[in-house]
């Protein structure tokens, strides 16, 4: 398990990415949310054997990462975190589905392997697009965008609270861990026993801290609703961004450029 402080710092780094200044950062959150949504739907709706058709979709994350000046290595390290989960989901496909669907020279490729890689790729693409969305927008602005798109205010407030209290929890955990490490000299303390009480402590402390934060929010007139600072308007640039990506992604989805290219190269014979 990675250190609590490290995880917290990582999370804050994601937040700091959103403070950068690029044209993409200035695009309205709603445009980015909707474009990402179109992207995810296009990617997910592809059939399980349509592996080649996935590759053109890389244009979306690649262009956004480059245009937003996002640190590739950091994002890739975050995206790869989902690999273990995806492997668990997809690993049985090659075993269960052994029908040969393609032959590349001496290698016979079964449908199971194709659908396995398709699951991996689709997961990576959707996770990447979600992470990029957060890095280009910032979580609070994202929530505001969702509210403007009509997500009920209660849900948005819940999301923001979740986000806020995630920090509270992580900070308390970091403090508690520091206190323990200082007194167990690189060992494991009393092991599981102290770990149990620590978790209990952590929950109680976070709870009380959350209560104090909430109290201070109430003291400043919070009445269950997060307000948007400015009536940010949906400009021409935002419309272009959404229309451009929407049309491009739909075109990729409907016409499958990878197959067209293949047809072109093989002279149109299947």
């Amino acid at each position: 398990m990675r250190s609590v402080e490290g995880a917290l710092l990582d999370f804050r780094q994601l937040e700091r990415l959103a403070e950068r200044d690029s044209p993409l950062h200035h695009v309205d959150a709603r445009a980015k949310i909707l474009a990402t949504l179109v992207f995810i739907i296009c990617v997910i709706s592809l059939g399980r054997y349509q592996l080649a058709a996935l590759f053109p979709f890389f244009i979306f994350p690649v262009v956004l990462i480059a245009g937003g000046g996002l640190p590739v290595r950091y994002l890739v390290s975050k995206i790869l975190l989902v690999i273990p989960f995806v492997l668990v989901v997809g690993i049985f496909n090659p075993l269960l589905d052994r029908e040969i669907v393609a032959i590349a020279g001496p290698v016979q490729i079964s449908g199971g392997w194709i659908s396995f890689f398709s699951i991996v790729l689709r997961s990576l693409l959707t996770v990447a697009s979600a992470l990029i969305l957060v890095s280009l927008t910032g979580f609070p602005a994202l929530c505001r965008g969702l509210a403007q798109l009509g997500l009920p205010k209660v849900f948005v407030a819940q999301l923001l609270f979740l986000y806020r209290y995630l920090f509270v929890l992580a900070e308390e955990a970091a403090r508690l861990k520091l206190a323990r490490d200082q007194r167990c000299f690189g060992g494991k303390g009393t092991g599981l026993a102290s770990f149990g009480t620590m978790i209990g402590h952590l929950l109680l402390r976070s709870w009380e801290r959350a209560e104090r934060v909430y109290r201070s929010m109430l003291s400043r007139g919070f009445a269950g609703e997060f307000h948007c600072p400015s009536g940010s308007s949906f400009g021409v640039g935002d419309t272009l961004f959404l229309l451009g990506w929407g049309l491009l992604l739909l075109a990729i989805r409907l016409y499958d450029p990878a197959r067209l290219l293949g047809l072109l190269l093989t002279g149109g014979v299947q």
Partner: protein
């Protein structure tokens, strides 16, 4: 201007675990007064202050701000009048940038656009922290956090300021900065503190809490002269009143 009066009557608070943190506290603070609440750790200072804007609900007793009795119905209105700076600025600063945090209160009051921006800038300027506006609150120093926390409250232009240990944990310079801020305010001020030298300097009136009760309430200078009373409440005279140890040694020789 009767609306800047704070009147507490027979206030009592029992926490969920049965601790009676505050029992039958009564006092009246008038417009523009600067009052210090002092007392040992656990005397009930924070508990008392949290009642003044309805952050905690009293088990018994009444709170009156101006002509308004504090009830669930009047709490929103009272929170605009009574600005509360919490003991730990980390509890108070919860947005992702300083400017957003300062804007939080005014936004909830329905401000927007240029008016909102002006409020934020004015509040941050007042505490000399405008240069921090784009920073993340968790990256500030202790003194900066405290000043920004004060700004978040000033931005709501309250009539009454309530602060819990405003100089706690600050270095001498940051402490001075906060004290200068405090002395510049025209608001009715109620401050809980262990910093008795600050109390002596800035607050003409002092209320001593001892085990959840008022042990004394009067002019600060009178109270600080009563060594026996202070000792009984686990307090000491401010250093400024204790005489300089170096000079005392010098006089003996």
């Amino acid at each position: 201007m009767s609306h800047h009066i704070v009147e507490v009557g027979e206030l009592q608070h029992q926490y969920a675990d049965g601790t009676c943190a505050v029992t039958s506290i009564s006092f009246r603070i008038t417009h523009g007064e600067a009052v210090a609440i002092i007392g040992a750790n656990g005397a009930g200072k924070s508990t008392l202050l949290l009642h003044l804007n309805g952050a905690l609900a009293a088990t018994a007793g009444t709170i009156r701000i101006g002509d308004t009795l504090l009830t669930p119905a009047t709490v929103p209105q009272i929170r605009r009048t009574v600005g509360m700076v919490f003991q730990n600025p980390d509890d108070q600063l919860f947005m992702s940038t300083v400017a957003e945090d300062v804007a939080f209160g005014p936004l909830n009051m329905g401000l927007s656009g240029a008016e909102l921006e002006a409020r934020v800038v004015a509040a941050l300027t007042q505490v000399d922290a405008l240069y921090l506006r784009h920073k993340a609150p968790y990256h500030l120093s202790g003194g900066e956090k405290k000043r920004v926390a004060i700004a978040t409250v000033l931005a709501m232009s309250p009539d009454i300021l309530v602060m819990d240990e405003p100089t706690g944990g600050l270095d001498p310079y940051a402490r001075r900065q906060v004290m200068e801020l405090l002395s510049g305010f025209q608001h009715t001020r109620i401050v809980a503190s262990h910093d008795l030298d600050m109390v002596l300097e800035l607050f003409p009136r002092t209320i001593i809490l001892c085990q959840g009760k008022v042990a004394a309430d009067g002019p600060t200078t009178t109270i600080f002269r009563d060594r026996e009373l202070l000792a009984r409440c686990r307090l000491e005279q401010p250093l400024a009143m204790q005489g300089c140890p170096v000079c005392r040694e010098g006089a003996k020789q």
